[in-house]
């Protein structure tokens, strides 16, 4: 059997990767080809510094066979006996992305299976602006999480996801040099059908 997540739990961080671009996730999963994630490295060292402050539960690992998910929540805030996961986002961006919300939703769902009570709010904290946003976890978020888990678990090495339909993502994508989206569209236009790289027939 080729490597896939079929019988494995999906790490919550994979949700974020997958939402950013399934193709990039594929490269990372099967080909170890994502370029150097400078931003991640940066974010990590900041985490270390922050984690010395008090008042929070840190680095808790959760897993759920029912959800098909597992992951470490690096920060859980406890207030009035409610627990709220906090997802801290790396340096440069002054905003968070839908993919961050999905990841946070994944953490909330994991936390609630562990606590056996609902967790409907999580926080996204941005280093760049020192802002914290309370995110209401909706039924839509939950559905998205379940769908992505299903996609990831059924992904195989033989079927590479198409190029993204949002080429602006490629500009910041660390796999771009390897992925060669525009170049692929020029060499094999078929491969770009229905993606953001489909162009009018050139004569």
């Amino acid at each position: 059997m080729k490597a896939s997540f079929r019988d494995e739990l999906v790490p919550v961080s994979a949700l974020n990767e997958y939402v950013y671009c399934p193709r990039r996730f594929y490269y990372q999963r099967y080909q170890d080809e994502i370029g150097t994630p400078y931003e991640l490295v940066d974010g990590r060292s900041k985490h270390e510094r922050q984690s010395r402050r008090g008042g929070w539960v840190r680095e808790r690992y959760f897993r759920s066979n029912d959800l098909g998910l597992h992951g470490k929540i690096d920060l859980v805030e406890s207030n009035d006996e409610t627990l709220t996961p906090v997802e801290r986002k790396r340096a440069e961006s002054a905003e968070y992305y839908p993919s961050d919300e999905v990841q946070l939703a994944g953490y909330c769902m994991l936390l609630e299976t562990a606590l056996d009570e609902s967790v409907n709010v999580g926080y996204i904290y941005l280093y760049s602006t020192d802002q914290r946003y309370a995110i209401q976890i909706t039924e839509n978020h939950r559905k998205t999480v379940r769908e992505i888990v299903r996609h990831i678990r059924t992904m195989t090495v033989d079927s590479i996801p198409p190029l993204t339909d949002n080429p602006s993502k490629c500009e910041a994508c660390s796999a771009r040099e390897y992925c060669m989206p525009e170049e692929t569209a020029m060499l094999e236009p078929d491969k770009a059908k229905g993606t953001g790289f489909e162009r009018e027939e050139r004569r």
Binding site: A3, D32, E177, Y178, K191
Partner: protein, 331 residues
């Protein structure tokens, strides 16, 4: 369209100064003049490098070798005048899926790849000749078609050999007065032009090898060149399309512009020390020189274009792309 920012151009360095040591210093790789008094000669960010070529009396500090291993930096050893001695290849996590795909290629898959490479080579041979004003290359055109239609590897090799002979017959016409090219001789090269060609093919083979290693293809498992112990067959295969348009073009440029003269050679047809240093720095410049990519239409360095071919080859092997698109120049 713009080529995405790359790190390939500075990814290969050449260390030729004798009596130097390559060491690490605060996360950078430093070339230090240990025998002389010049101190630090050059320094490079570790993350950017993937290949270091050293010539003759250059040594490495132990921490540097550990760092090279950690960062996947390949070290190629040459004698002072450019004879290849061997390599230090770092352990790298083998990406099983890539190797699996490469090992699983069928004979037909291999033939398809080889046909694209050889047809590309023949196309580029014609283009080089016509750029230099050599006309009457229709035979090459026909041979290109024959390569595309080859039904087995032996037939393809035959066509390739015939095209090479025709092409080399005409190469003489691209050279300036005072230089002649009679026929291709390899071991040993019998004249100065053959010596420059051989040297340039070795340098190019190493460029291609670096690329294959970086993308975790097995350079020893070829699609056309026979696998022989210790021979990087896949690098030799992929090199084919670059030979005329990059290697031979480089050699003709060197002699036609007078960068290298007959006086630069020793009695056994090797470049003398100083000329060899000139050669290497010109070669490196040439690899970093940009041209308009014939398929992608942006400006890109030769080194990067070669790495891109490695990527395209890998994508073909893993089935991500339908066919291998050789780097061909129509004009």
């Amino acid at each position: 369209m713009k080529a995405s920012e790359g790190m390939f151009d500075e990814s290969v360095i050449f260390v030729t100064k004798q009596g130097t040591q390559v060491r690490t210093d605060e996360g950078r790789i430093v070339v230090w003049d240990v025998d002389g008094d010049d101190g630090e000669l050059a320094s490079y960010p570790t993350e950017k490098l993937d290949t270091i070529n050293v010539f003759g009396g250059v040594n490495f500090s132990t921490p540097f070798v550990a760092r090279a291993n950690e960062h996947g930096i390949v070290l190629n050893y040459f004698t002072q005048n450019g004879k290849y001695r061997g390599s230090f290849v770092p352990e790298r996590n083998t990406i099983a899926e890539i190797r699996r795909a490469q090992y699983a290629l069928s004979d037909d898959d291999e033939l398809d790849l080889a046909k694209a490479m050889i047809a590309g080579k023949i196309r580029n041979a014609r283009t080089l000749l016509s750029r230099k004003g050599v006309h009457g290359t229709d035979v090459l055109k026909d041979l290109g078609v024959r390569a595309e239609n080859a039904t087995n590897k032996d037939g393809l090799r035959g066509t390739e050999g015939e095209a090479a002979e025709r092409y080399f017959n005409r190469l003489d016409e691209t050279l300036t007065d005072g230089w002649t090219f009679e026929k291709r001789t390899k071991r040993p090269p019998e004249d100065h032009i053959n010596s420059l060609l051989s040297l340039t093919y070795v340098m190019m083979k190493n460029e291609v090898l670096s690329g294959l290693r970086q993308y975790n293809l097995d350079p020893f498992l070829g699609v056309l060149h026979a696998d022989r112990h210790g021979r990087p067959s896949l690098a030799l295969d992929l090199q084919e399309e670059f030979r005329p348009i990059f290697c031979d073009a480089f050699v003709t440029r060197l002699v036609n512009r007078g960068v290298i003269t007959h006086d630069d050679f020793t009695a056994d047809n090797h470049l003398a020390d100083e000329a060899f240093k000139t050669y290497l720095s010109k070669f490196d410049d040439y690899m970093q020189e940009e041209f308009t990519h014939p398929h992608f239409e942006y400006s890109v360095s030769r080194r990067k274009a070669i790495r891109q071919q490695v990527i395209l080859l890998r994508k073909t092997m893993t089935g991500e792309m339908d066919e291998y698109h050789a780097l061909t120049f129509d004009r």
